[in-house]
Symmetry: C2
Subunit: 316 residues, 2 copies
C-alpha cells in the first residue's frame, strides 16, 4: 500500500476528530475529507484545527490547506465518503448510532475503503451488526490527543480480515513514525490501556475517599515514582529489572505476600447508587486542587509529552 | 534543624541500603555510619557503592570517603548507633526482626535520634510494639533506586510525633531538592504507591493470562500512553485536563458507564493455591521477552529517568 494515494474521510469532528485530522495531515500527499452533522462545520474547523496543526505542519494555515485541496469539507456524508480509501468515525459513543452509521457508510463508500472506529469502548463486533460485510471494520482507539499520544489500540473482531489489521498498522507507522499501533488480540471491555488506567483510577478514588492521601499528593506520588518508571519501561520490564538477576520471577517470589495482601485489600467503588457518595467528595477536591485547565497549560503539557517521547526513543 | 550536623546510621546494606547511602551522601557535611550483619561489609561497600556514587558525587571514590571520615563502617550495631542523629533500617521484611531491632536501637541510640524504616509493607505501629517510646519511629518508604527515584512515602503511626514527620520531610528536601517526601495520612497495607502499582500489575497479569495482549505489547501500551501522561500530570490532573472545561466531573459523567463496565470486569488474581497457574505463564513470557537486565541497561534507564525528571520540573 502507498500512503500517498489515501483519501481519508473523518466523520465526527469533536476534539478527538479534529486532533485525528491533524494526525492524518502528517502524510503530505493525502486528502482529508471532513464531515460532521453540525451546521457550522467550516467555521468550527477554522476555529479549532489551527491549535492542533502547530506541531504537525507548523506555519501552515487551515485556509491554505482548504484552498490547495488537501482538506475538503463536506456537508453530506455521501460526498464525504464517495472517493474515500479510509473512513474513520469519531461520533457519539452509542451502539445504535455506530451500527446504523456503518450500514450507511458501507452502502455509499467505495468497495476498497477501510473502515475504522475511534471508539473507546464499543467493540467492532457490535458495530458491524447491520453490515453486509463484517470483515472491513476495526477499532482504532486513540489516546487523547491523538496527534500527540503515540498509542493506537487496533482492535479487530473475530470477523475482521487480517489484511485490514495489517493495513491499519502499516498506515499509521508510515504516516507518523512517532505513533505506535498495538493489536489487541481479543475484544474486551475497555480494551487494554483504559483497563489499566481505570484500575488505577478506582484505587486512586478509594484512597482519596478513605482520606489516606489527598488528590494532590496522590498525583505527586504517581509523578515521582510510577509514572516516569512506566514511561521508560512499562509494567513487566520494570518489575523484571527490579527483581535483579532473578528478574520478574524473583520480584514475585520476594513480594508475593505483600502483593497478595494489597490485592485482597484494593478498594471496590461504584459509580452509581447508594455507594457513589465518594464521587462528589473526590470531584470537589479535584476541582479545588486544579480548577479548569487552560489552553496554555494544555499546550505546555503537550510540549513536555513530546520531550518525554524524545527521551524514550533516544539512544544513550 | 540543620542538615549539616547529621550523623546518619544505616542498618542493612542490600541494594536499597547502598542506594540509600548514596542519597544521604548528597549532604556534604553529614557523616554516614554503615552497619550490616554480613562479615564482609567493607568489601561489600567497596564493591557496590561506586556505581551509585556516580550520579551523587561524581569522581569521588569510596576509599576517599572512608579515609576522610564521611563514611564510617561499623561491625557492631552499638558503635553504629552511638552517635546517630538519624537511624534508618533496610533490613529483612519481617515483623519480628523489625520489632526487636527497634527495641534494641532505642536502648543504645542517643535520645534525640530519629528512627526511620525503609519497609515497603510493615506499618510503623507494628514495628514499635516493643519500644518504650512509640513516638520516634516512622516509615520512610523509598522507591528503587532511592538515590534516583524522587518519591519517599512518609508513613507515621497514630503514635508518631508530628515533629518527627516534619523533620523527615524537611531533611529530605534539604538533602536532595530532586526528592519528594509525601506524607501518607493513614497506615494502610502497601501504602499508596504500591497499591496503585499492584492494581495495575494485577490487571496486567490478567490481560496477559487471558491472551488479550502479550507482555511486550502491554508494556508498549503503557509506555506510549499512560506512563508519559502520569509522569507529567498524575492521575487526577490528567483526567481533569481530559474532561475539558468540565474537568474531572465532565470526564466521570461522560465515561461513567464505560468506567463502571471496566471496574465490574477487572481481573481477580491469586498468588497462591489452585488459582495461581497464571504465574508460570506470565513469568515465562516476561523472561522470554526481556531476559535478565544488564547493569548497562539499568544505568541507561537511570539516566533517562533523570532526563524525565528534568522535563517534569522545567519551565516552558
Amino acid at each position: 500500500m502507498s500512503a500517498n494515494q489515501n483519501q481519508v474521510t473523518l466523520i465526527g469532528l469533536g476534539t478527538i476528530g479534529i486532533s485525528m485530522a491533524a494526525l492524518h495531515l502528517r502524510d503530505p500527499n493525502s486528502t482529508i475529507h471532513l464531515f460532521d452533522v453540525r451546521s457550522d462545520i467550516e467555521q468550527h474547523i477554522l476555529a479549532h484545527l489551527p491549535a492542533f496543526l502547530e506541531s504537525v505542519c507548523p506555519g501552515t494555515s487551515v485556509e491554505s490547506l482548504i484552498s490547495s485541496g488537501r482538506i475538503k469539507i463536506h456537508t453530506t456524508i455521501e460526498t464525504a465518503c464517495s472517493e474515500a480509501t479510509i473512513i474513520q468515525e469519531q461520533g457519539p459513543e452509542n451502539v445504535s448510532f455506530k451500527k446504523s452509521l456503518w450500514a450507511q457508510v458501507e452502502s455509499i463508500a467505495p468497495p476498497y475503503a477501510h473502515f475504522w472506529s475511534s471508539t473507546s469502548g464499543i467493540p467492532t463486533s457490535e458495530q458491524t451488526a447491520d453490515m453486509q460485510d463484517k470483515s472491513r471494520l476495526l477499532v482504532v482507539h486513540p489516546f487523547n490527543p491523538p496527534h500527540i499520544m503515540p498509542l493506537l489500540e487496533i482492535v479487530p473482531s473475530p470477523n475482521t480480515n487480517q489484511d485490514e489489521v495489517d493495513f491499519a498498522c502499516t498506515y499509521f507507522r508510515q504516516v507518523s513514525p512517532r505513533h505506535c499501533p498495538v493489536v489487541i488480540k481479543k475484544e474486551i471491555c475497555g480494551f487494554v490501556g483504559n483497563r489499566l488506567a481505570f484500575a488505577v483510577l478506582r484505587e486512586a478514588c478509594y484512597l482519596v475517599e478513605q482520606k489516606v492521601v489527598s488528590v494532590k499528593d496522590l498525583d505527586q506520588i504517581m509523578m515521582s515514582s510510577l509514572g516516569p518508571r512506566w514511561a521508560l519501561n512499562g509494567v513487566f520490564e520494570s518489575y523484571n529489572s527490579g527483581g535483579g538477576v532473578d528478574g520478574f520471577r524473583g520480584f514475585l517470589n520476594k513480594l508475593e505476600a505483600t502483593v497478595q495482601g494489597v490485592w485482597n485489600d484494593l478498594g471496590v467503588m461504584s459509580m452509581t447508587g447508594d455507594d457513589s457518595h465518594w464521587k462528589e467528595y473526590v470531584i470537589s477536591q479535584t476541582e479545588q486542587t486544579y480548577g479548569p485547565s487552560s489552553l496554555g497549560q494544555t499546550r505546555e503539557k503537550e510540549e513536555k509529552l513530546r520531550e518525554v517521547q524524545r527521551i524514550q526513543t533516544s539512544n544513550p
